[in-house]
């Protein structure tokens, strides 16, 4: 691994425009992440955090600008090279995205797929070493006893820990986490956030984690990058962050705490309205059928 300097992620002037969307999802985003840094992407939903993370893993192609990860130009990679790069970057999803009908152990083993060739079916199609390693990771996240259960029998917090074990299976150099606790209750959230932090410290991992709660971000990351409407509006270290600066952060992500609350309120109202409209439409459709 030849990494120039200490930066592992270098994003320059990144722009992303989805076809059919009015506004760009990202515009002019530049971000450099150093090896071993724990960075929080802070922003409301729709601010472009997920899109940004997906670009680092090559799950999205940029409309403009460049994305470099682990010293490689991500958008230009194809096939085997892209898969190898993805293998070096762990990704944790908001909805866990583990394969429900498979056992917990097999889910963890899928983390090793980029390093082996060909499709695998069943725990026994993986080598003994890989199985042993997967079990050790399961033990690390505290789910060794659940190894042979179907993954969809676990609770949300447990499923997210399985996803973390799967990411560990990749021996990642970078860990990307997209709202890892947004679907969890407060207690599981605390456990999962602490686990990610501990693991990052143990392995000297670089972590980029998107969050929408300011409080959670302040206590957790080394550095906070704020996004609003696809643009970087803030980039500060949390080290010795003063109260004024905290207020400043609140002010940049949304103008004030109260405004933040208002925006959140509005968002949830819009969501409710959409839900009820959808429900009505569904009922109508059912009636029509």
């Amino acid at each position: 691994m030849t990494v120039s300097g200490t930066s592992v992620v270098e994003i320059t002037d990144l722009g992303k425009q989805y076809p059919g969307a009015d506004d760009p999802a990202l515009s002019g985003v530049s971000l450099t992440v150093d090896r071993g840094e724990v960075v929080v992407l802070l922003g409301l939903s729709g601010s472009g955090k997920s899109t940004l993370l997906r670009h680092i893993d090559g799950l999205e192609l940029p409309t403009s600008g460049s994305v470099r990860a682990l010293d490689q130009d991500v958008p230009s990679l194809r096939g085997r090279e892209l898969r190898t790069l993805r293998g070096r970057i762990g990704f944790i999803f908001q909805q866990f995205e583990i394969v429900g009908p498979l056992t917990v152990l097999e889910n963890v083993l899928t983390g090793a797929l980029s390093r082996i060739r060909g499709p695998r079916v069943g725990v026994w199609s993986y080598s003994r070493e890989l199985r042993l390693k997967a079990l050790a990771h399961l033990d690390r996240v505290g789910l060794l006893e659940r190894a042979y259960q179907r993954a969809d029998t676990l609770s949300g917090g447990q499923q997210q820990r399985v996803a973390i074990a799967r990411a560990l299976m990749q021996d990642p150099e970078i860990l990307l986490a997209d709202e890892p606790v947004a679907s969890l209750d407060p207690e599981s959230s605390g456990q999962v956030m602490a686990l990610i932090r501990e693991i990052a410290a143990e392995r000297g991992l670089t972590v980029v984690c998107s969050l929408h709660q300011v409080d959670l971000a302040l206590g957790w990351g080394d550095r906070i990058v704020g996004l609003r409407a696809g643009k970087v509006v803030l980039d500060v270290s949390t080290d010795g962050l003063s109260r004024d600066q905290v207020m400043e952060i609140y002010g940049r992500v949304a103008t004030s705490t109260s405004e933040l609350q208002v925006i959140e309120q509005e968002l949830s109202e819009v969501r409710d309205a959409m839900l009820s409209e959808e429900l009505q439409k569904q009922t109508r459709d059912e009636d029509a059928r």
């Binding site: 993805r86 498979l102 097999e106 033990d139």
Partner: protein, 595 residues
């Protein structure tokens, strides 16, 4: 109210504009009316009359005399002494062999179709297909395979491979690909995309994404589709027997052509029982696969508990290992998967499935080597006077047109009869309509039994009993249709929202008022869809009914087969495929308009 008030009200009412009805409502009303008119027209066109049916009942005493007592395998009827005479055990063994061969043909053919459908479904599903061209090709393959009836495949393969089980296996194989690959692709399109994305993000290749992310999610639905198709194929073995595929169908067809009804009836009964048993087993497996979780009272858990009582070592292995402080030891211990009930149950299920599938290839007793030697027959097939060019041969265009007309009339008349019967039977089979659960369960059971009986067997029996052609075929389809339509209607009645029903009860409506005011109107849209589906099925069936003497275009196909006029066979097969595609096209069109 004074006259003036009334006039004022009338004026105001006249000013009220009625909104134009929704397009979907218009389409469904027009569809219902069209089906009614076509049904009545077909009814008269087929010469259905109460007298002709009553007259045909005169046949019954004569028929019973020629049929009872049944000559089950191992016996034959001695005309001189008018008693059954034993033939020893050899024919019984042969009979059991035929049962297994039939099951073997069905399962082997369906299984091969299942395997081949996996790549086709991969290419046909919108979310896994490598590119649009592949998608179009894979979908077209499915549509073509669906449109060509299994019996059509069988009649060509009988020519290529000679009589025996192999043409049956191959016919089921090719035809089943159509339905299985389509429904497999649907299952792939319904999976949760997240896990696939997660596997992509770990650096998995396309193949790894498919096997680790897609297959585990779709597999239960796939197996259910395969079982369902095996169910349908078992029913079709009857008609395959008529064109020379070995097994129970062939025995039945031979007995009927020899007018040996004492032999035919036991065979028909055997096939019916086999179909019902197979249906029960397959629906049990399917309901378990699709979402019913083991409760701890299932057979797997029971087995595990029983095994634990016997063997202390086994019991120890399913105990939770001691919480050890030594992590390495704990991880080592976890390398061996404990024998939980779940694991034992799935292991047993897998081995049973393997035994059944392997066994079916053995039981089919096909000469598999023919698969590699049939090329020799191909030139003959393509020779003049064989498959190509197609011609109606001895049949005039007039005759062919008449036969097509009868085919459609059979389908429409049967659909109308089924519809009327099904509303009654289906309503009583619905939980929210039936007066109590005994009535509901009784009617549900009736529907289950009707569904279990293959329509073709019904048609064969009706043709024999009444001595009629198209009318007998219509009756068979009508009764068979009740099994399907009645269930669909009962299900949609039960799915109707309960709120309005409760409201009618709350205003003091009776059960009957509630049914007509709320339950029935709310299920009408679903009803139209089901009716279209049944019509499609009936047209498909009607094209083939002629093979068993039920009237329509199938008769010409069958006669051409019997005299080995393969150019005529091609012509009639193509005609049947076109008819099926036309009715499917119309159904697709109406369904789009209904949405």
């Amino acid at each position: 109210m004074t006259l003036l008030d009334e006039r004022a009200l009338a004026e105001r009412l006249a000013g009220v504009t009625r909104p134009a009805p929704k397009a979907a409502t218009v389409v469904s009303v027009v569809t219902l009316l069209a089906l009614l008119v076509l049904g009545i027209w077909s009814f008269t066109g087929l010469g259905f009359s109460l007298t002709s049916i009553i007259d045909s009942l005169d046949n019954i005493p004569q028929f019973v005399a020629r049929t009872v007592p049944f000559a089950w395998p191992g016996w034959h009827w001695d005309r001189d002494s008018a008693t059954l005479v034993s033939d020893g055990w050899a024919p019984v063994a042969e009979f059991i062999g035929a049962i297994f061969m039939t099951l073997g043909i069905v399962i082997a053919g369906t299984f091969l179709a299942f395997l081949v459908s996996i790549p086709i479904a991969y290419g046909a599903a919108r979310n896994t297909t490598p590119n649009p061209t592949v998608m179009v090709i894979c979908r077209a393959l499915g549509i073509i395979a669906r449109a060509i009836p299994a019996v059509a495949f069988a009649s060509i393969f009988v020519f290529l491979f000679a009589l025996g089980p192999l043409p049956g296996v191959l016919a089921f194989f090719f035809h089943s690909i159509g339905m299985i690959s389509k429904m497999m692709a649907d299952a792939i399109e319904q999976i949760d995309e997240g896990p696939r994305l997660a596997i992509r993000s770990t650096g998995g290749s396309k193949a790894q994404e498919f096997w680790s992310g897609v297959v585990p999610q779709a597999l239960p639905a796939w197996i259910a589709v395969g079982l369902h198709r095996a169910d349908i194929n078992l029913r079709e073995t009857v008609i395959l027997g008529y064109v020379g595929v070995a097994g129970l169908g062939l025995e039945l067809s031979n007995s009927i052509h020899a007018l040996n009804y004492r032999r035919a009836f036991p065979l028909a009964i055997t096939i019916i029982v086999l179909c019902i048993l197979f249906e029960i087993v397959s629906s049990m497996v399917r309901s378990r696969l699709l979402g019913v979780r083991p409760t701890g009272k299932g057979i797997g858990d029971t087995l595990v508990r029983a095994a634990a009582r016997r063997s202390p070592r086994f019991a120890a292995s399913i105990e939770k290992p001691d919480v050890t402080t030594d992590r390495a030891a704990a991880i080592q211990a976890a390398m061996n998967r404990p024998w939980t009930g779940e694991r034992l149950a799935s292991r047993i299920a897998i081995w049973v499935a393997v035994v059944v599938v392997v066994g079916s290839f053995v039981a089919a007793q096909a000469r598999w080597t023919d698969l590699f030697t049939f090329w020799g027959n191909l030139p003959i097939l393509l020779d003049k006077d064989h498959l190509w060019p197609p011609t109606f041969g001895i049949y005039t265009n007039e005759q062919v047109f008449q036969a097509i007309l009868v085919t459609f009339q059979v389908a429409f008349a049967a659909t109308l009869m089924s519809a009327i019967l099904s509303i009654i039977v289906g309503s009583f089979a619905a939980r929210n309509v039936a007066p109590n659960r005994y009535v509901r369960n009784g009617f549900r059971g009736l529907l289950l039994v009707i569904r279990g009986v293959p329509e073709l067997i019904l048609a064969i029996l009706f043709v024999i009993v009444t001595g009629l052609g198209a009318q007998a075929g219509t009756l068979a389809l009508a009764i068979g249709g009740v099994g399907l339509l009645g269930k669909l209607i009962a299900d949609s009645l039960e799915e109707v929202p309960n709120g309005p029903e409760r409201a009618i009860t709350a205003v003091g409506g009776t059960r009957t008022q509630r049914y007509f005011a709320s339950t029935l109107p709310m299920s009408i849209p679903a009803f139209v869809g089901h009716l279209l589906y049944l019509l499609e099925q009936n047209v498909r069936a009607a094209t083939l009914l002629g093979i068993v003497g039920g009237g329509g275009i199938g008769l010409y196909l069958y006669d051409s087969l019997r005299v080995s006029k393969y150019d005529q066979v091609t012509a009639f097969l193509l005609l049947i495929i076109v008819l099926v595609l036309i009715i499917e096209g119309i159904a697709v069109f109406i369904r789009k308009a209904l949405k």
